[in-house]
Symmetry: C2
Subunit: 96 residues, 2 copies
Amino acid sequence: MIEPLSEAERIDALDGLPDWDHDDGRDAITRRFVFADFSEAFGFMTRVALLAEKADHHPEWSNVWNRVDVTLTTHDAGGLSVRDVAMAQAIDAVVG
Amino acid sequence: MIEPLSEAERIDALDGLPDWDHDDGRDAITRRFVFADFSEAFGFMTRVALLAEKADHHPEWSNVWNRVDVTLTTHDAGGLSVRDVAMAQAIDAVVG
């Protein structure tokens, strides 16, 4: 079982992830990524898929051509956990 | 410019795609695929991505762990076209 972030930890985490939006209703973070075309978008998705499988922590995501919308939350924690923060940082590193 | 399917063509096409649902509001077809785990789901997505890029016709889709929801429609036609029918058949062939 993984613990959800405390209120103070959540505030700190969101400060450190300026490109991510917080979905209060679900206690999730979301980010939209826009690429030149589908090939770039799916290349990104493939890299994130490898990160996700390695961490055993998977995004909820959707793709329409050059656009990828990523949502991170930890179902076992009922909201954001350190695993989401780590995954968001790893995804940010993919896009530089 | 690609033509949308006529009413008769749409009925025929949907008869031939029994695993797909028709979204009347958008004139799109949708199918949910459920796999054993994320690895299988993303393997499927990778195969569909290759098909889509080859056909230059891309799905709208979302993935949550072992589940992939696929929507096909042709924006240039304002609804279903032969390109969607061909892509649905190709995707069905991937899952056997």
